[in-house]
């Protein structure tokens, strides 16, 4: 790992008692849901991480605690470094505070995480669905949501699938 990145990880470890993992030169720092806003503000103001590249999440079902990891990928243009913050959340009522006040690009990214995973962001100015239709009920990227795979029609099962396909009327 880069020297400058090591120092930043040590600062985060000291202040938030965070654990970290290293893989292929990247640093993944685990922060709890209560500390994430402070951590993001610290990185933006003191360490000059001006760009929030992405906010996303991973689902580890059937493991219930933690079930989700919310991932924040930060980039610093002046120091040319990247760091990844991960927030583990439990499966029932996953909630974390919004980062919209710190980075405005988090607005839509958090809407997407809510839409796809069902993680609520407290204090978000616009908590609507973004990619799925407004009246859609479930959260597609969770591991217990089925893919929606339809049997391909080959010659041996062509007719039986044809009967079930909802063709449009005039």
């Amino acid at each position: 790992m880069d020297n400058k990145l090591e120092k930043i990880v040590q600062v985060l470890q000291g202040k938030f008692n965070a654990t970290f993992e290293e893989f292929r030169g990247e640093a993944h720092v685990f922060v709890s849901a209560e500390q994430i806003i402070e951590a993001l503000t610290l990185l933006r103001d003191e360490q000059d991480f001006a760009l929030l590249s992405t906010v996303t999440a991973v689902d580890y079902w059937p493991q219930e605690s933690p079930r989700f990891h919310v991932i924040y990928q930060l980039t610093s243009l002046t120091q040319n470094l990247s760091v990844q913050l991960r927030v583990p959340l439990n499966g029932s009522q996953p909630k974390v505070r919004t980062a919209t006040g710190i980075f405005q690009s988090a607005n839509w990214r958090e809407r997407e995480v809510y839409d796809m995973f069902g993680i609520e962001f407290e204090g978000h100015p616009d908590p609507r669905r973004i990619l799925m239709p407004e009246d859609f009920k479930d959260h597609p990227l969770r591991k217990d949501f089925p893919l929606g795979y339809e049997e391909p029609q080959f010659t041996f099962n062509f007719d039986e699938i044809d009967l079930r396909k909802p063709y449009a009327k005039e």
Binding site: F23, E26, L51, V58, Q104, W108, L131
Partner: protein
Amino acid sequence: MSEFQLQEIPVGPYKHLVSERALTGETMLLNMGPQHPSTHGVLRLLLELDGETIVNCIPDIGYLHTGVEKNMEAKTYQKAEVMSDRLDYMNPIGNNLAYVMAVEKLVDLDVPERAQALRVILAELQRISSHLVWLGTSALDVAAMSVFLYCFREREQILDIFELVSGQRMMTTYLRPGGVWRDVPVEFEAAVRDVLKVFPKRIDEYEALLTNNPLFLDRVAGIGKLSKEDALSFGATGPNLRASGVDWDLRKARPYSGYEQYDFVVPTNPTGDVRARYLVRVREMRESLKIIEQALNKLPLGPVHSENRKFVPPPRSEIGVSMESLIHHFKLWTEGFPAPKASIYSAVESPRGELGVYLEGDGGPKPYRIHWRTPSFENLEILPIMSKGHLVADLVAIIGSVDIVLGDIDR
């Protein structure tokens, strides 16, 4: 024919996004629907209008949501690459490059030099072709129709090169983990040199038509200003960020695939309006030609994919003679290769900005989670602040200058 009534858009669901004047009816909510000639794809914009001036602009996306991230979890690493072409459909080779670089970083696979140089040549050709479509369609939006026809004529020449190399004009899937699919035919160099000879004069033609044209400048100068702080806070990258004065290009800052060997300039412009973005992209086309020339001159001989048979299939000629090759071929085709139980984030510079892939493996042959950090998602978020106070006709020019691709946004 079914009955339908014209509905007025209710202000209710958007109360927290529009100004108070909409609630009294002083301003009007207008739907610039998913099917519209100037929205460059299926983008729905809700405009709060005071006469012809825009007070607020609320984008509504999701009309092209394809479920790629979930679908890739059901396929092996090699098969999932096919879906990556179709995300940002103006830049399929760039998407392939982002994906294969992520896979190579995850499994720690080497790429030989010839393959890296070929990747750079094709990625830069793809950048030129994407900027040509941008120029053609956004000039068409400000009513310069002949530029549209010229740009598509040049683009055909580049698509012929892609077809020569891989057999497909657009969705080539030519780059594979460990290198490229197969070596380029002998006509490749002559075709690329022809492009290098012809293009600079053609770009001069477009500049002669547009850059100093008072009609064009009237429509684009001073429109859609984006300040440096807003650009960084909203996460805009690529030409949108560089046209606001920030010098950040992943090809220079974190060179990949051999970009550090080539000598090129990253154009920036401090103004931040539509004209600045136009100038930055046209200059980028010229710089891409320089990179292609250098890469073609230095093109080394050698293998075009890694020799690591655990990830790269062996050549067909070896399968009949060597038992290990047969077993490797069998395992790669039936099962796929396993990836470690870890996650990485890897980014490239697409014509629109930072195209990143977050890839997490779980020890098996299929990705556990793949997330595409697509640049147009963040680039679209800057549209509302850029278009406040402008007229609807200016909004068309602004959307064209941001260069969004809906496949990128909705994935």
